[in-house]
Each structure stands twice: as structure tokens, then as C-alpha cells.
Chain length 420, copies 2
């Protein structure tokens, strides 16, 4: 049975939308309610494409508001790492489940994740009805021997995610080496080869701090993007998170290879890394980009409305140009439509039936240009209905299982963040 939406507002026109088999089958003023099919009367709500969160660590909802406003290493060593050492697979399930609910509530239908126990993350995404690119995280502490020993487990985890992926088609498995300062060259090369062989993606942190660049120059004589390229890691399916300290030659190389940078403006500002992604230069070089919230312990939410606003404002602030990253362009990026690797899809027949209905009867969306309203005025609370693969995951701001997920995360966070 398909889903039919009637009386939605798309580009100023009243339209209907029919979903079948998880895809948009028809879209236009002629689409009318069908017999015996599930129908949503949009009552004039705005029909728009959803967001793609290009970089996050979803299960970190367990550590929200835990050790904020501390110097980076004090936060990691004194708070996050000891707590993560106590993580059990079920914690990751519930952390990811609550993250999925938060994303559904704020209009994100697909996200690129990197964390521990990602089989559980994949299961949570499946149960929540969302889409995700789930990476089997890999850290060998720059020890190639240790890295070699980890390979079987890494492949087993990948297989686990791929099995879940095959089950319903909403989860993609990908490789997730953490960063060039935590993974040896040998392991990076092996992971890149594995990804190429299996036709899978590759998600990695890159150039988040100046220290990473300096260390790379000292150890290898080249900058991080060139180092990754030498190891075969910069393909079209690579998603590079942060990229704050990329220079022009690196941006050109990344553009040439067709890799994607996931920009994390909020997290970079909150952690005070000392800069923001050089959007103007990247745009000129033709780099594909997306936006990520990063984990909630360095943001502290998963609201892409907030992220796209901060991205656009930071691009203007940094360049001194109020016309930089204008609303329409920023939205295209936030919707994952600027890069095929992110898997964003437009509202068109034949495309996945992923979309949002927004409430225009709010002060934020009451008047003016819609794109400007979405980027500069609205927050996630304007989303009334979130549909993924033709299934409504939220209607009237109610998401199934929210109270249970909050209770589970509360109990687990209390255990994880208490000194043992």
C-alpha cells in the first residue's frame, strides 16, 4: 500500500504526491487521494526536501552536556574517553535511537555516522526508519601490526552492517578510519583498497586542527590531503570531515578527486579550533561539500536548521561578503545535493520518497522568501511531518518511541558518566 499526500504547497502551487515502493511515483496538482491508501492531508503545509547530516557520531546523545566549556584535551581525557571506555553495544543502540528521533524531529532523513559498536547503530537506524551511512570505525594507534590484527574484526563488523543494509535498503555500510593521526599508513592503504574492491565509501576526519597539519608535515613532508591521496584514500566516495585547515593546493586536489568535505561549523566554533572551513576558496576550486553537526557533545544538537544557518553566517562573517553562501545555495548543500556521495535526493518522480511537511503558520515562516525562511529564521520545530521511503516517521511532531528512548538514554548516561 502506498502513501498519498494531498494539498501540499510546493513552489507556491498546491500539489499532491503519491509514493509507491518507497519511491515518489507521481507529484503534481493532478495527484488525488486513492482508494484504500494511506492519505495525509497536508492542509497547505510546505513540501520540501529533507536534510542530510554529512558527519556525526549519533550515539553521543549519551554524552550531551557532559564536560562542556573545557579545554579540548581535558574534555577528552577527563570526560569523554573514560565514559566511552564503559560503552556497551546496547548503549550505542539507544544513543543512536534517540539521535534518530531528534533528526526525524528536525527534518534530517539520512546521516553519515562514525562510532563504536556500529552494528547496533545500524539496527537502531533500521528500527527508527531512517537512512544512514554507517562506518565501521578503525583506530590502530599508528601501529601497523595492531592494525593488521584488527582487520578480521573490521571486516566482520562491516559484514554485519551490510547484512542489515541488504534487509531494507536504508543503511549503507562504509569504512571509517578515524584520522591520519590515529591510523597507520598501512591500515589506511588497506582500508582504501578494501573500499575500492567492495565499491564502498570511506569516511575520515581530516584537517580539523592546525596541529594535525603540522604533525603531518613533520612526519611525511606533505600536507594531510596529499598524504591521504598517496595512500589511495581520496576517491569519489570519500567523505572528509572538517577540512578547516586545507590550503588551496589541497582543495584543488580534493576537487580533482571528486571527494566530499563535510563542513562542521558549530563543532569547529564550539571547540575553538581556530578557524572555519574555507568555503569561498573551496567553492572556487569546485570542491563538493555537505554539512554535518558532528556529535552532540560538541554541538550540542542534531538540528540541521541551526547548522545551515551557522554555516551561511560564518561564510559571510569570514569573507566580509553578506552575499556569500546565500540561502538557496546553503540549502542545496545541507540537503546533500551538492555531492553524490551524500545521497541527498530531489523531489521528483522516481526518486526516494523522502520529504518534509513544514508548518507555515509560524512566525518564522509567516512571510518572505522560503529559502531565506528555512536558513535564517526557522529551527527544527517547524517540521510537522517527516517521511522516509514513503513512510511517515513523524506526524504532528509525534515520533513513536521517543519517551522510551529518552528514558533509556537517561539511565545509560547516568551509568556511563559516573566515576566507576
Amino acid at each position: 500500500m502506498g502513501l498519498i499526500v494531498t494539498d501540499a504547497l510546493l513552489d507556491g502551487e498546491r500539489v499532491g504526491l503519491r509514493c509507491e515502493g518507497g519511491l515518489i511515483e507521481a507529484l503534481g496538482p493532478e495527484v488525488a487521494p486513492g482508494d484504500g491508501e494511506e492519505t495525509i492531508d497536508a492542509g497547505g503545509m510546505l513540501l520540501v526536501p529533507p536534510f542530510v547530516n554529512a558527519h556525526t557520531h549519533a550515539a553521543m546523545t549519551l554524552f550531551r552536556g557532559f564536560g562542556d566549556d573545557l579545554p579540548l584535551m581535558e574534555w577528552l581525557e577527563g570526560h569523554i574517553w573514560p565514559a566511552e571506555a564503559r560503552l556497551k553495544p546496547e548503549d550505542v543502540y539507544w544513543g543512536t535511537r534517540l539521535a534518530a528521533i531528534e533528526m526525524i524531529r528536525s527534518g534530517t532523513t539520512r546521516f553519515v555516522d562514525m562510532y563504536w559498536h556500529e552494528g547496533e547503530a545500524a539496527r537502531a537506524v533500521g528500527d527508527a526508519g531512517l537512512r544512514a551511512v554507517i562506518s565501521s570505525v578503525f583506530i590502530d594507534g599508528l601501529d601497523p601490526g595492531k592494525g593488521e590484527g584488527m582487520r578480521p574484526a573490521a571486516l566482520a563488523q562491516l559484514d554485519e552492517i551490510q547484512e542489515l543494509a541488504a534487509a531494507d535498503g536504508r543503511v549503507d555500510a562504509t569504512f571509517g578510519p578515524h584520522a591520519i593521526y590515529t591510523v597507520s599508513a598501512e591500515s589506511l592503504r588497506w582500508l582504501a583498497e578494501q573500499a575500492a574492491e567492495r565499491g564502498l565509501g570511506f569516511s575520515i576526519h581530516l584537517s580539523e586542527t592546525q596541529g594535525e597539519v603540522d604533525d603531518c608535515l613533520e612526519a611525511h613532508g606533505i600536507r594531510p590531503a596529499h598524504y591521504l591521496d598517496e595512500l589511495g584514500c581520496l576517491g569519489e566516495r570519500a567523505i572528509l570531515a572538517h577540512g578547516v585547515f586545507l590550503d588551496d593546493a589541497e582543495l584543488e586536489l580534493i576537487a580533482e578527486r571528486g571527494a566530499t568535505v563535510a563542513i562542521n561549523t558549530s563543532a569547529n566554533s564550539k571547540l575553538a579550533v581556530g578557524g572555519a572551513f574555507p568555503y569561498g576558496r573551496a567553492r572556487e576550486a569546485g570542491v563538493r561539500v555537505g554539512l554535518g553537526t558532528d556529535g552532540v557533545s560538541s554541538n550540542n544538537n542534531l538540528d540541521m536548521f541551526e547548522e545551515v544557518k551557522l554555516f551561511s553566517l560564518m561564510a559571510k562573517h569570514d569573507s566580509g561578503d553578506p552575499a556569500a553562501a546565500p540561502a538557496g545555495e546553503a540549502l542545496e548543500i545541507a540537503r546533500g545535493l551538492n555531492s553524490p556521495a551524500l545521497g541527498g535526493t530531489p523531489l521528483e518522480p522516481g526518486e526516494p520518497a523522502d520529504f518534509l511537511l513544514l508548518d507555515p503558520e509560524t512566525p518564522e515562516l509567516s512571510v518572505g522568501d522560503l529559502d531565506a525562511g528555512l536558513v535564517y529564521a526557522a529551527t527544527g520545530s517547524v517540521v510537522d511531518t517527516t517521511v522516509v521511503a514513503g513512510r511517515a516517521l513523524m506526524r504532528g511532531r509525534e515520533v513513536e518511541g521517543e519517551a522510551e528512548a529518552i528514558a533509556e538514554v537517561r539511565a545509560r548516561a547516568a551509568r556511563l558518566t559516573s566515576p566507576p
Copy 2:
């Protein structure tokens, strides 16, 4: 008849709160429901002080999403000024009314306003049940003769606002010279004298762009804050909006005089003025500060949750210190508690009965430090109940008159923003 709130969570403790005559009469675990009094069962919601918006042009809800992403002068000359020239007093009433509703929805109970036809703004604030500092705006185009001719009308407008203020005690009248580049020295001196005589405040834009500083240096040989001081404008009741380009000597002078700077991080970034308020240096100098959203045509919302996050993130980004403007400090500033001129009040018996009840059963506030949750994770949508002077203006996210205000603003915005 008073209002009683039961079962609210304050600093981890279940408390009740009793209001009488617009003030908090009692607050603590011992406060119980009274006979025949209006009672709100908070059901474990979080009881917190509200925000004070230290600088806005409320009625600009009429121009939201109108001419975004344009160079500053093209936006002002091609869009905003021609539209403002068509403003009628009733437009300002409805624009301000919708702004008040948006503020109630996002937890702001008091704001400092500067716009045209402010008698109507004062009426809208009165009807909405909010508090505001309303300024009778003054621009003489640097023509002292014209300025002298405007004095009777300026005083008449002030009297009108003061009359409304006397009626219910929620509106304060203040003087509102626009800026040093739009108001002559003679008029600024006269306005400062009038303010001092009447014991009223003074609200003015200051040092928003480098051009303003350069022009001031060229015309007067001194920087803007020193120029204002020579004219007697830097008293304890002065609220200076923006202050992006203040140097250390100016910050010290402002601190010495006890004036307050209203920081507008979102608007400064969106308009790409080329900098942000130097919070670190201002804090060291002891400058009193508050946060403002500015008008929605340069923000584009009135959500102080978003503003306080951006303020804190920009302070960290600019200083390279992740511990700059920590959550508790940022909240104190956003609540108007850092300066007596802003009129923020704490939750204590004898203080005005202005407060919020927030929904903790949300992903954003599910775990972690509450201050961090409010600054970094929450948006205005976590506010369930907004109370001003012991009267609930919103419960369960329903504000009276919202649909009517949206319809009025839509119709008026369509007229104002259409070419004549």
C-alpha cells in the same frame, strides 16, 4: 487573584511558586496549591528565568525574508527603506504584535525596541502582555536645524509611550537617537539632557561598521565612544547596540561610565560587518553587556536560544579558547542579569513574576548540564509556558492571537513589499 505553579523543577529540587500582584511572593518546596487560585501543575517541567532581548526592531517581522543575501546598501536602498517609507502606524502595531508572540514562544519576556511609530509598538506590547523598553526613534540627518524642529514631536511620542507605561508598568519609555552618523551633535546633546532630566534611558547604535569609526575619526578626531561621551550620552542607562569595532580605550571608557553594550552576533555575521563584538577584551575591561537579536530582517528570528548559542560559539571561535563565554556566563548575559539597564530579574521572592517552564522530555534537554543544554542544545521550542507579571502568556505552546497576527502581518507585508 494570584497564580500558583506546583511541581516545577528548580536546581534539581521540586518546588512551588506563588505570584501575587505581578511579583513572586513565595518560592520553594513548601508552596502548595491555594483555594480559588489559578494553578499550573508543572508536572516536573524546568523552572528558569526568561531572556531579555537587548536590541531589536520588533515590527520588522513585516520585512522578514525580504531582500536577504544582498550587499548592505542594495538591501537598504533597494528594499528596506522604500518599504519602510510606506509604513503606517497600524503596520507597526501588528508587526510588533507578531514579534511579541514569537518572543513569548521562545522564552523572551522583555525587549529593548527602536523603530518608527513606537506609540503603536507600546500598545502592541501592552496587549501582548510582554515587557519592553520602547524608544522614540530620532534621526535628523545630521541637520541640527531639522533636529530642533523635531523636538516637540519627539517629546509628544515619548509622552504617549510614558502614558501607556504608567497604565500597567510593563513598558518603559526611552530615547532612541539612531546613531552618530544620522543624528547631529546638537540633537544628541539635547536628547542626553532630556533623558537625564526625566531619569530615562538612551538607546543608540554604536560602532557597527569600520566605516562609522573612520568617518567619526575624520569628522571629530576621536573614536565613536569618546565622541558620544563628550556629548553626555554615555550614562548608566545608555544601551549601545553592536560595538563591534570598539577599541580598548573605548571599552574602558564605557565600563567606567557604566553603559551597556547590546551584542548582536547573528546580525553582525549575517550582514558581514567584518568582525564580532570583542567579548574577551570587553569582559576584561568590565563592560556590562546583553544580547540582542536585532530586527528579523537581519537575523531572521527573535529566538534568544539561538542568539546565546551563536554568541558563545563566536566568542570561542574568535579567541581560540573553548572555555570562553561558558554556558552559565552566557545565560546570565542573555537573561539581562549582567546589567541593571536591561532589567532582567532573578527567580526570587519580591522580584517580578517572570519565568519559563521548559519541557525536559525532549532529546535536547534529556541529559547533561542544564546550562549547557539551554545554550548549546535547545531552541525556543523547548519552552512550554511563559509567564510575565504572574500571567501565563503561553501554555502548552499556545499563544492567544497568533493566527490573527500572522494573517495581519501577511496582508500588510504583501502591501509594503510590493512596488508601488
